[in-house]
Symmetry: C2
């Protein structure tokens, strides 16, 4: 489908490029050009090979920008939303999460992921970095609905295996334009040294980066120090897991040595501020990461620990929590936050074609409504988005040239009410059988 | 207008009352009854004196609950949104806020307040506790648009006076059902001892509570200690300002003695978590207030320091920041947060008729859309609202029986685009004349 998005304000997220007025042209799944108004005035567009438009959309001076990259989530945990809040972390895991997870089927995960995808679309999220059970059914949910997804393995001593991970890696890289796969494991504290050693071998075999939960809680770090005499990042580096890069989810409790590991291997931090608040894990030292030139992307984490999948909330928290932690109202400005939510997200997820709005990039585009009171007056659009923006401003979410969400309506091959209904049935079955 | 709201889930916010299915009947500006489904089955409604409905609204099993009380704001500061972020507090005030405020007229404040009111409506806010220049034009903006407003004075050494405040107090209490007025002053650090003494006399004359900014920053507390040898709360108590109750906005840096002052005089804390984050002021000890039985309400603060006027963000932050501060994921549960945002807000603002949904109360009612992905599945509605809710879930905002916002459309006597246009003109004039 060829779509002309005209009469727009445009924030391409290319370095230092300000917001301008113009058009974005989409041909099939790609952006074929981003035109400034002054180019249009010069008749520049006439030089362009003719395109027959399937749709010409008047953006009414609303904002087009790259979609947000949700660089860490466990989508199917929608089944636990509001089920187990306001309880301490260990009790939450042992009494609530694990008993219900044990009953989940791949088909359940398919539907529960679809519920999460609906929510991503309402928040302008155009790609997710997904770690959960049954990657095959997650991939199917994303393909069926049109969501771009980078899968990673949550392998640990109790779930998945090196063989399964290698099979998935080969199966899902190249199988579908929306899906890719990165090596990963759940966390140091759930994964044996033997398994980690084999994963390092796999990483070396494919020259592939590795991703994992890292330094999320103080307890995790202390237990790793007891077990191995090293912090998780240093221990994992020594195991050879970061030879080809990768990244850590959370990274709340990081030492200077840990940050050196990240710099040395060009690892990405994926910060999850709402989850770290809600589970009382702490505030990640994001400003310190930036001073050390460690790239930072942003994730919502799963809906059981957040509980919503909303990049606007995360963006405000990235800067707000940093301002608190640094006791500095100038810490991490809005433009830096937007960069994390788009360009750095794409970098962390190895999606170089989905970072900015430019010729040849994937048409992963959102339209933000500036004609709402929270976006007025228009002094500074990046600040409006980060400090005042809300999912209610998301007017359109396009992934790979497909408009999946527009004016509150979904175009995902199934009705929201049907997905809600199926998920409610799943939840009833799980709670009944878990005896809770 | 008589409105029947049927086929609803209802959260009245009465103590310990769970969500139930039923109807809310509104006659003119009041709720005439809240009916449970089982009462309807018994034909109970037939005993009710007949009402001719002007509107019967199928709520489609969405949630009706009391509107949120925004218990601290400076609405007209919309003109500063995204104008002066990411700079240190003193620089922000001296270089940005004060020069532009000096140019504001009462008429400017009228329009800039109207812009904020549009935003309140999108966030389900049905009453505001307003401290800003020119209360008369603020009141007019609220009356013209239908917003419930409690005015308080921001009197200080440079603005307003005891005489003006007494005149406003008498003028606006009883003048209009939507408007009331409480005594107040800006803050200890901007108000002379002489002026405070006179305000205490006024409070004693009318047996009236007094409200002020209090213990917002560490510096404020330290300077008061230097000046008077006492913390602000203790100093103000000694001045006789709290003999008839009242409350403090912010209350971030509070000593045990300060909390004793609050208990002794039954003062309310009005917490402003997003503002305290964004300006790097700190995290208020809200869980400690609750342990000491100090009532806590919630405010957005003004749009210059937040920057949005969104009670969903504030509610999540109240519990999230407390979980961080207390290092306890169980700190302040969702139901407590909702209580602060509704019942305690009404208490702090002295609006006893606007606290819960019950017979005889003001029809200040919101409808939250549960048919959106962030509200699914429905395990626990209060938790869904606090942890996952968003202004995008606000389907209706009714104040005093008038539906001011429904399905994204405003019914406030003027068009949003016209208000945006006027406010943009004001902002251009202010920035030009301020030479910035």
């Amino acid at each position: 489908m060829n779509v002309r998005l005209y009469n727009a304000r445009i924030l391409t997220m290319e370095k230092d490029k300000p917001v301008f007025s113009g058009e974005v042209w989409v041909k099939n799944e790609k952006i074929v050009c981003v035109l400034e108004e002054k180019q249009l005035e010069k008749g520049w567009e006439k030089d362009f090979p003719e395109i027959r438009w399937d749709l010409e959309l008047d953006c009414k001076e609303n904002l087009l920008m790259p979609g947000f990259k949700n660089a860490h989530t466990h989508s199917a945990m929608t089944f636990l939303r509001s089920y187990a809040d306001d309880v301490p972390l260990q009790q939450w895991l042992n009494e609530k999460v694990f008993p219900m997870e044990a009953k989940l089927t791949g088909e359940d995960i398919y539907h529960l992921t679809r519920l999460a995808i609906l929510e991503y679309l309402t928040s302008g999220i155009t790609a997710i970095f997904e770690m959960y059970l049954t990657p095959d059914t997650i991939a199917r949910a994303c393909i069926d609905m049109g969501m771009r997804c980078v899968l990673t393995s949550g392998m640990n001593n109790f779930s998945s295996s090196i063989e399964q991970q290698e099979e998935e890696y080969n199966k899902w890289n190249g199988a579908h334009p929306l899906i890719s796969y990165q090596l990963g494991f759940h966390a140091e504290y759930t994964t044996s040294k033997e398994l980690l050693y084999k994963l390092a071998q796999l990483s070396h075999k494919y020259h592939a980066p590795v991703y994992t939960h890292l330094a999320e809680t103080r307890r995790e770090v202390e237990e790793c120090l007891e077990r191995y005499g090293r912090t998780p990042a240093v221990f994992l580096e020594n195991m050879g897991l970061f030879a080809y890069g990768g990244g850590g989810f959370h990274c709340v409790h990081m030492t200077e040595d840990d940050m050196d590991v990240f710099r040395r291997h060009r690892l990405c931090v994926i910060t999850n501020p709402a989850s770290n608040m809600k589970l009382a894990s702490g505030i990640a030292p994001v400003a310190e990461f930036l001073r050390k030139k460690i790239p930072v992307a942003i994730g919502t984490d799963g809906p059981a620990s957040n509980n919503c999948l909303d990049m606007f909330r995360e963006m405000f928290l990235v800067t707000g929590l940093s301002k608190l932690k640094e006791e500095d109202a100038a810490s991490i400005d809005a433009r830096q936050v937007l960069h994390m939510a788009t360009v750095q997200g794409a970098k962390a997820m190895r999606l170089p074609k989905s970072d900015v709005l430019a010729k040849g990039k994937n048409a992963d585009i959102i339209m933000l409504d500036l004609h709402q009171p929270n976006m007025q007056p228009i002094h500074n659009i990046p600040k409006n988005i980060v400090y005042s923006g809300s999912k209610s401003n998301v007017r359109m979410t396009m992934i790979g040239g497909q408009i999946l969400y527009y004016n509150g309506e979904f175009n995902v091959g199934d009705s929201p009410e049907r997905i809600y209904g199926i998920c409610s049935q799943i939840v009833r079955r799980l709670t009944d059988s878990a005896g809770v």
